[in-house]
Symmetry: C2
Subunit: 337 residues, 2 copies
């Protein structure tokens, strides 16, 4: 049993719409990509929302900018601190640069090289820590105390959730142009910020749309939490997931409250299924998707009965994958057939 | 010296706008993708128009559909024939399927596997020929005579040019949303259909924009033709280019007339520069670009002085590259730095 948590009022679709106004002309509009050949194989109409093409290579920039642009002049002077395995890191680093404030990012020393290098290139100060021996929260707290920096949480924050939710507004508008409404939508879920924001949009505009959290099989805390009706945790000694972007051990309090109200449930994918999704995206959609970014797509591709005849959307949440890993996967993995 | 050619009236921007109406809701809107990190490295604002994400994986679908949708009921019954190393093949095959007509595609037996397989998957009848011993024109003529099929030329046709030109209309609208006008625009050029169509748009809307044909160094017939002021040919015994999509040996008559009037010239890239462009697109833009689709980008990336401080656009014209080649390139090639 979880201890009861007292939450502030949950964000609403109106808050997501306000975030969209802040991001207008700042975030990149990303396409809904489909392949007639893949649609035929699957017997459905599958769209991939390519947040891989978002500035910084993942959706995380949306939430980070929506949070940072609302900081006071005084807070901007002191700057922000965040901890992240990489995509939130880059999102916060670039948003901080655009807003003209310093940023410290606490990253695990085993994060993908491309994510560490890019975070530095955006101008942030990167502090590496040992995932097994050190506390990232402890390190971040030190920067909050010593330099008065504001902590930018990766998901459990209304402004972050609403920034990410603008993905849902875009999907809705892009499908409407084609005269479509989604039957099913899913996105890779770590702490649940992205799928919660999308859920707020779908709940308000298309209450019949089924919204799912997409997770790796080995980090299925949201799926189990939604089934159980209370927050569940990944085992403390679980090895790092192949989907490095999806390793939050448990949902956030705010995100869980939204997900519990709106989501139909969670769907998971094995590492092998994620690889097939990455190869399929390369072959049919010409998209570079990182493992965590492909988990939701993988979960759909391997549930043919669920998607048959439907209009389905998978958000490809990030594309920050090292070239070595990507080429290994292409060499050993065939697309779905 | 070329023999004088009598041409019909050249297509205009109004024809491109009419093509855009026909393609509305049919072709996929494709994004303009940029990377803040890449912009910083280059000291310019570089946008890649990702026609890799167009249906069939290249811009060719636009021209093919614009041509096929205007055929008469009688012509549709008999169907179409085309010859192509792969992207025009797929564009025609899928457009024929949408328009409900049969299609025969004559393809070289050394075309990339992905292009042959996909052309078949779109429902076309593929006829393979030996690039060195057989005449593709001869084979196509046989289908025109025997089955009354309409030949769909790859580039030297006003409807094809105008369909491809809709790429230029989209670029213009997408830059306008950002308050920008392109200083320079380039696209991979084989016979010149795509860049001619784009040129019609730029000439009318932004006459100061410099428009360039992007070519591989080993198939630089447009570049040399524009310099010479008359159509030049690639040597008849030239080996196949690494950029398999850009192997037309000489510009078309209509395309050359447009290019000669509008283009500033041609810019070329070596195979090694094309590989760097492909790796750069993977790393910074998360795009899968095939060699021919990356030639224009490669030519820009290696002309730093020319692009410095400017708003530049490279069209990534196609993404149909075999996984084996793509992973080899990633493994051996670093992005630009």
């Amino acid at each position: 049993m979880n201890a009861p948590v007292t939450l502030p009022p949950l964000p609403t679709v109106a808050d997501v719409e306000a975030a969209a106004k802040r991001l207008r002309g700042i975030a990149a509009p990303t396409p809904l990509v489909e392949s007639p050949l893949l649609n035929e194989i699957l017997g459905c109409r599958l769209f991939v929302k390519a947040e891989t093409l978002q500035l910084t290579g993942s959706f995380k920039f949306r939430g980070a900018y929506n949070r940072l642009c609302q900081l006071s002049a005084d807070e901007r002077k002191r700057g922000v601190v965040a901890f992240s395995s990489g995509n939130h890191a880059q999102g916060v680093a670039y948003a901080a640069r655009l807003c003209g404030m310093p940023a410290v990012i606490v990253m695990p020393s085993d994060a993908p090289q491309i994510k560490v290098a890019n975070t530095r290139a955006y101008g942030a100060e990167v502090v590496l820590y040992d995932r097994w021996k050190e506390s990232r929260e402890g390190i971040a707290t030190k920067y909050m105390q010593d330099r008065g920096m504001v902590l930018v949480p990766p998901f459990d924050d209304p402004h972050i959730i609403c920034g990410q939710g603008t993905v849902g507004l875009e999907v809705d508008a892009q499908l409407a142009e084609r005269g479509l409404v989604p039957d099913i939508i899913t996105a890779g879920s770590s702490g649940g910020g992205l799928i919660s924001g999308i859920a707020l949009v779908m709940e308000s505009r298309h209450p019949k749309t089924e919204v799912y959290a997409g997770e790796p099989k080995d980090f299925d805390d949201i799926t189990r939490s939604l089934s159980a009706g209370s927050k569940q945790k990944v085992a403390a000694d679980a090895p790092p997931s192949f989907c490095d972007a999806l390793m939050a051990p448990t949902p956030g309090d705010i995100t869980f409250a939204v997900m519990r109200r709106v989501l139909k449930g969670g769907i998971t994918a094995s590492d092998a299924e994620v690889e097939v999704a990455m190869a399929t995206a390369f072959h049919y959609l010409k998209l570079v998707i990182e493992p965590g970014g492909a988990a939701a797509l993988a979960a759909l591709l391997h549930r043919r009965d669920m998607i048959k005849g439907k209009t389905v959307v998978a958000v490809a949440s990030g594309g920050n994958v090292d070239a070595a890993l990507f080429s290994q996967i292409l060499a050993r993995t065939a697309p779905i057939s």
